[in-house]
Amino acid sequence: MDRVTLRVRAVQLLSVAAILLAWEGVARAGWVDPLFVPAPSAVLLAFGRIGRAALAGLGDTLAKTAIAYVLAVVIGVGGGILLGSLGALRRTVNPFVVALYGMPKILVLPWIVLFLGFGALPAVAYATIHGVFPILVLVTGAVRDVDRNLVTVARAFGARRWQLYWKVVLPAIVPTVLAGMRLGIVFCLLGVLVVEMFAGVRGMGHVLGSLANGFQAPELFAATALVSAASIAIVLSLDVLNDRLSHWRGEIR
């Protein structure tokens, strides 16, 4: 580690420590109402109290997210390859895709819940809708923009249609698919949490919502930190995967 990196790490560590300390001090001094802003030490203790329930909720949320994510990636990548390959189809349906991508999905959430009831189904459906569009739009663009030179080369060397897709198009869109997957996971998790908050009976969104309604601030903060940490961990591991699979792109990210 060089000196600059060392200084950067020091600044990061010191600032986080300073914020936590200042927060603790302010809370202990009684300058803020502990009902709303609990001290970090109180939040730490709250981890113990909510531990089991929160972990169960997190597991529930992540399971739903995983199902929605797989659906979103499969539909998004498959649809993207289809739309990217077929110019006529793409030009016809593009305005619909753009409109659906841009529309805040929250507006249809009540209808989805009305339709699918309270349970895992509306969460999975809503999260899939949430996650599929960024992937679909990115992959469509990537397939459409595959380097024409590479396609010509493959044709000149006698590639059949399936070889063109397997050896040229798919490897070429790997970085975009990964970028879409990174975006998609956050969208899917967001979707599941929103449904759980809106009409959940289980899951982390429901846990957060009921802790807020019960004015259990330390527990709420602890639970929030837990979801955040899980989400950051998932995204970071996708980043690592991304670097592994796109190493041929070098420094360009």
Partner: protein, 260 residues
């Protein structure tokens, strides 16, 4: 000498947004086995279109193209390999994997194709770069990988569309010498497109000068002298002047047409 490639009365017209463009009009040309035939002419004279027809990537509106006794109706990687101006390397493949590409499409077993590609890296001057990705190679190296990819499928005919067009002058001359060496050892039939008089005179057994759009054959120059050629000899200097005279007229016409 048998005629490996026969082009007979070929024409091609493109439709563009600003109206139809005559790319080629009534071209006839034969190339014998083992020849190094160079197409030269002003920009937009249809050289690349003609090469595309030989490679089966472009279809003619009229006339016929016969390669090795068969009419061309699509890419035929058993007979013809192509090198493009843009090397068109697959950025996710290493040097040796790029060289293997054509063999892989033909279903050659992994071990065998790796051996063929690795054996080629020596003459390509890429032995130490087998595991590098294209972004880690210089422009000249990339073009050598593209040439290696074409040589790997060991076709009797190699088409080259301005392969050194994007390289700097020094690299270009060295690459020409290197290519000459490869060609003389493999005795393949080469059809080569270039803008460079030097390249045409140093490498070819025959130079075909094409006219400005619509592309037609203006003149053909036979170059029977032995290699390596002394480019400063009276003979070649005189040929260069004649060649430049032919091309200059056409380039002026092409410039006049495209001027605003």
């Amino acid at each position: 000498m048998t005629d490996l490639i026969v082009v007979d009365g070929v024409s091609k017209r493109y439709t563009t947004s600003s109206g139809p463009v005559d790319a080629l009009r009534d071209i006839s040309l034969s190339v014998g086995a083992g020849e190094f035939c160079t197409l030269i002419g002003p920009s937009g004279c249809g050289k690349s279109t003609l090469l595309g027809m030989l490679g089966g990537l472009v279809t003619a509106d009229a006339g016929r193209v016969v390669v090795d006794g068969r009419p061309v109706d699509g890419p035929d990687p058993r007979r013809v390999a192509t090198v493009f101006q843009d090397p068109g390397l697959f950025p996710w493949r290493t040097t040796v994997e790029n060289v293997e590409f054509g063999l892989e499409l033909q279903g050659v077993a992994a071990g065998r194709r790796r051996k063929i590609a690795t054996d080629l890296l020596g003459p390509l001057g890429l032995r130490d770069f087998a595991a590098k990705y294209p972004r880690e190679l210089s422009g000249g190296m990339r073009q050598r990988v593209a040439i290696g990819r074409a040589l790997a499928i060991d076709t009797p005919i190699v088409l080259m569309d301005e392969p050194f067009g994007a390289l700097d002058e020094q690299t270009r001359v060295l690459m020409g010498e290197w290519l000459l060496d490869i060609w003389r050892r493999t005795r393949k039939t080469v059809v080569f497109v270039t803008h460079s008089l030097h390249e045409a005179l140093a490498l070819s057994t025959r130079v075909v000068v094409m006219t400005a759009r619509p592309g037609r054959i203006k003149s053909v120059l036979e170059l029977p002298m032995p290699y390596p050629r002394a480019m400063e000899s009276h003979e070649l200097v005189a040929l260069r002047a004649k060649l430049w005279g032919d091309i200059r007229d056409e380039s002026l016409r092409a410039m006049g047409e495209s001027a605003p």
